[in-house]
Symmetry: C2
Subunit: 138 residues, 2 copies
DNA sequence: TATTGTTATACTCTATAACTATA
DNA sequence: TATAGTTATAGAGTATAACAATA
């Protein structure tokens, strides 16, 4: 339809379009099992770091402290995480048994998504994608 | 701080983080010359497709028709684009002289941004990034 | 009948400021 | 004095529905 060539030659543009398209795809897949992409990401991070705090999670994922509140409340209300005091100021977060079951579903969906994602990349480029991407933001 | 390993091994996660980080960077750079990232993108697309329509631009960039209205109004109010009727239903969009001057600035900023972006990618991965990304969404 | 451009509005996501309590 | 958790709210960005006019 339109000439999009000068945009398509820009890695930054391709990066945004690819991220938007794939995030929309994964969001739709996770919606089918009733969980949001951010929530699933937080859940995975907590599972690998039992006893971590809201602040620590927020720092790693670049989520503001204030925005962690309703997010963790959702996970707690859904019975996926539980909190217990570390001291009188902080509280440690852990994934519940129910959360682990849900996490198994999440991991299945994500594994399938990631497999189909990487399959779309021509073989000779495949192994370069992850290191190239991580070099861009880490 | 936290163990982020299982997330970092997911191309989809790395893709989102890389896109968010680089988009924030470019947004800040373009802000210094007083233009938004979306507006700059639309301006580039119109420049390469003089006489195109609002609908056509929206379709290529996945922007809803309704959201094109205030966007094009901004560009028009800034004197960067002009519209003239194609028939009594559609109108063709073109970049004005002032728009072309602004576009030169935009291209300079973006070229610098893209150069620094690709420099962060280890050399052996560099040539693989663009084709891998475009394979993901095109 | 489908498309263009538009208006108005709802919704989601994120950012900011301020506050309390505790390390 | 800095940090953790929280509340309330503002703002930006996007989505949805409806409309008139024209192809």
């Amino acid at each position: 339809m339109l000439n999009e060539q000068s945009l398509l030659s820009l890695p930054g543009y391709a990066l945004r379009r690819a991220a938007n398209a794939t995030a929309a795809d994964l969001t739709a897949r996770l919606d089918r099992i009733g969980i949001r992409l951010v929530d699933a990401t937080v859940l995975m991070l907590i599972a690998d770091n039992p006893g971590t705090t809201s602040s620590a999670v927020g720092k790693v994922l670049d989520i503001q402290r204030a925005n962690m509140v309703p997010l963790l409340k959702r996970l707690e209300d859904a019975g996926l995480i539980e909190r217990e005091p570390i001291d009188r100021k902080s509280q440690g977060i852990a994934v519940t048994a129910g959360g682990k079951a849900r996490l198994a579903e999440v991991r299945r969906v994500i594994a399938e998504f990631e497999a189909e994602l990487i399959e779309r990349v021509p073989q000779r480029h495949r192994d370069h994608l992850l290191p190239a991407l991580n070099a861009l933001w880490r």
